[in-house]
């Protein structure tokens, strides 16, 4: 018996399925062509470059989105119970808080007083013409522990908590944060401590009657004006906060001292908000108890059970209190959505950039077909199936895109990992320091980003290789064989 069957009878090994045989030949041909041909290298390089750039750009963009998310959730509770229209504020009393807590869904409550202040620098620092005008700032008075209980002010986003131990050495500027004593108050308290021990007698007057202990005004006030840190508002700079009332007059003025860190120790979401202790905010806004009336707050921040339906909870709380209630989504959704939309738009642009790589893949594989025309003719001549030839090119495209994509993934993440060290080393920062209260570039190593781009690149690359592959399978072996060697 003649024919290929003879070979099969000589060995008892099972014949692989046709699909497996096709795959083996495709892998063999495709991988060899890819490794030996410079045109294939060019395609791989194009893939590497495209994926690297996409991952690096989207890693930063995703970093912005994640920072934004973190900041929003750090600054917003699940629900906010507000004073109704026309009401000056909500009653701030243990009884009212307990009344709110009666609702089963409520797991935490924290009061909040919001207001605006006009900030006027002192004449001592008016040499800089940019600082001569007053500017507005929003403040948010809080009870630290209550807010922390709600999950706001997470440790990661804060500087160290206040340290009032008088014998403690001064903290490094980078460690000073919310509630830290300003230099003049630290000196004052040191004198007080010494007087208690040694009986020094009458002490100098306090630096000012305000700010009270623990109150600082951070550099975000400077950031609001587009000024960089150290542009005049150095630590110890005194400012006057003028608090406007609704009638065009002033609730009052207060002299405050600039800390050398952000006053809140937290990355502000919108840079127009500084957190201050509730009693201070109450004084600024005139919300203190007076004439038999209870103290007021602007709103209560409410936490509810994790994973619960916020809209339903908001309605239940509103029904319970008779006051309007908003979810964090309603309050900050525009910020989160804005960042996500920007990221998605940039992601789409990066996908479009991949089309450039597609042209290179197409051109490279077309060149490969021309280069390998003689070999393809011989392969088809000895009986290689056209589908085997197509499979070889498709495999080469997949190998090129996946392999190049994985290398691009590594390079992209290496670039991301090196961005901030590079900035620290060279002093060159990619974003202005006041852009996000930090000179550091926000970076995300979310693997979804590279996986998305490698998948899309592979899909597009395979499509780009289809036409050259089809052309390769249609080569006329007779014409090639007639051309001879």
């Amino acid at each position: 018996m003649l024919g290929a069957g003879n070979l099969l009878h000589q060995n008892a090994r099972p014949i692989p399925s046709k699909r497996a045989a096709v795959s083996l030949l495709a892998v063999h041909l495709g991988s060899r062509w890819l490794l030996r041909r410079r045109s294939a290298w060019l395609a791989t390089m194009a893939v590497i470059l495209t994926v690297t750039v996409s991952i690096a750009v989207m890693g930063v963009m995703q970093g912005f989105v994640e920072v934004m998310d973190r900041q929003i959730r750090a600054n917003e509770s699940d629900l906010t119970l507000q004073a109704g229209l026309g009401a000056e504020g909500l009653e701030d009393s243990p009884g009212y808080r307990n009344y709110v807590r009666e609702l089963d869904i409520v797991t935490g409550i924290a009061p909040s007083i919001s207001g605006y202040a006009l900030v006027t620098p002192q004449s001592l620092y008016r040499t800089n013409t940019r600082l001569q005008e007053s500017f507005p700032a929003q403040f948010d008075g809080i009870e630290w522990d209550a807010d922390a209980h709600l999950g706001r002010l997470p440790e990661k986003s804060l500087h160290r908590r206040p340290d009032v131990h008088l014998k403690a050495p001064p903290l490094a500027p980078s460690e000073r944060g919310t509630g830290f004593l300003t230099p003049s108050w630290r000196e004052r308290l040191a004198w007080q401590g010494a007087n208690m021990i040694f009986g020094l007698g009458p002490l100098p007057l306090p630096p000012t009657d305000t700010p009270p202990v623990g109150v600082v005004v951070g550099q975000e006030l400077a950031y609001i004006q587009g000024l960089s840190a150290g542009d005049g508002y150095r630590p110890g700079t005194f400012l006057t906060l003028s608090i406007p009332n609704a009638r065009g007059g002033l609730v009052g003025k207060i002299r405050v001292e600039m800390s050398d860190t952000l006053g809140t120790g937290i990355y502000e979401v919108d840079r127009y908000n500084c957190l201050i202790p509730l009693p201070f905010a109450r004084r600024l806004t005139g919300f203190s108890a007076k004439d038999g009336s209870p103290a007021l707050v602007s709103a209560y921040r409410i936490s509810v059970q994790p994973g619960s339906n916020l809209d339903a909870d908001a309605k239940a709380l509103s029904d319970h209190t008779g006051e309007p209630v908003e979810t964090w989504v309603h309050r900050r959704q525009h910020l989160a959505k804005g960042a996500i939309n920007t990221r998605n738009l940039l992601g789409f642009v990066m996908l479009l950039v991949q089309i450039l790589a597609v042209f290179i893949v197409y051109a490279s594989f077309s060149t490969l077909v021309i280069e390998k025309r003689r070999d393809l003719g011989a392969l088809l001549g000895i009986g290689t199936q056209p589908r085997q030839i197509i499979s070889a090119f498709i495999f080469a495209a997949i190998f090129c895109c996946v392999g190049g994509g994985l290398i691009g993934w590594g390079l992209g993440w290496a670039i991301l990992a090196g961005l901030n060290p590079f900035s620290a080393l060279t002093g060159f920062y990619f974003f202005p320091e006041d852009f996000n209260y930090s000179a550091e570039t926000p970076i995300s190593f979310n693997p979804i980003v590279p996986l998305l781009y490698i998948t899309s690149m592979t899909t597009i690359g395979v499509i780009a290789a289809l036409l050259p592959a089809w052309r390769a399978s249609r080569i006329d072996p007779v014409a090639i064989l007639r051309e001879g060697g």
């Binding site: 003649l2 024919g3 060995n11 692989p16 011989a378 392969l379 001549g381 000895i382 085997q388």
Partner: protein, 218 residues
């Protein structure tokens, strides 16, 4: 049953008929030489017999099975499994080693790799190419390349080997050696051989010799 039988093959190009009712029958183990002047249609005949080209008329049977009326995929499969080719310029694949070139024919036929590799090594040893299995074919001499082409043609134990001037680019001594090996392999495997050649001495070594004249074998 004949290994190869073609009846009334006609093949032409616009304004010119090359093959005019050609008949040929080759039994297993029989070697046939076809000679003829340039342009008489020797390569066209070989391409038709190898199912690479389609005759305008007539039938071609390989081991009793019609091949000329099959679809492209079935023709390719029959070519891979039942036919072996020694091309004029050998047409080895420069990106692959000697062994890979030979086994490529088995892979094209979708045959298992293990037995094919064993067979390829056996053939290499028989043709004096032991130790060169992993060499790239571009580093081989013309004679060595022709022997690799022979190995590739016979590895699947085809019914018919079609050789298109397999010694055209070789010196007389090497050519004689290569033909000797081709005929020996065909005899051992009971494979029919149809060889196109210009060399009368080589043609004389075959069992039968034809002249292609005016589109028919004489």
């Amino acid at each position: 049953m004949s290994a190869l039988r073609c009846l009334d093959i006609r093949k032409g190009y616009p304004g010119h008929e090359v093959l005019r009712g050609l008949n040929l029958e080759v039994d297993a183990g029989t070697t046939v030489a076809i000679r003829g002047a340039s342009g008489t249609g020797k390569s066209t005949l070989l391409h038709c017999l190898g199912l690479l080209d389609t005759p305008d008329h007539g039938s071609i049977e390989i081991q009793g099975q019609r091949g000329d009326n099959l679809g492209p995929a079935a023709r390719a499969r029959m070519r891979a499994r039942n036919l072996g080719f020694v091309f004029q310029a050998f047409h080895l694949l420069p990106d692959f080693s000697v062994l890979e070139n030979i086994v490529m024919a088995a892979r094209a036929a979708e045959l298992p790799l293990g037995p094919a590799t064993v067979e390829a090594n056996r053939l290499l040893a028989r043709l004096g190419l032991t130790g060169k299995a992993d060499r790239n074919v571009t580093t081989l001499s013309g004679g060595e390349r022709s022997r690799v082409a022979l190995c590739r043609a016979v590895i699947n134990h085809p019914a018919v080997i079609l050789a298109d001037e397999p010694t055209g680019s070789l010196d007389p001594a090497t050519a004689a050696l290569v033909v000797q090996e081709l005929l020996a392999l065909a005899r051992d495997h009971q494979t029919a051989v149809v060889m196109v050649t210009h060399d009368p001495a080589i043609a004389a070594q075959c069992d039968r010799e034809y002249q292609l004249v005016a589109g028919v074998l004489a």
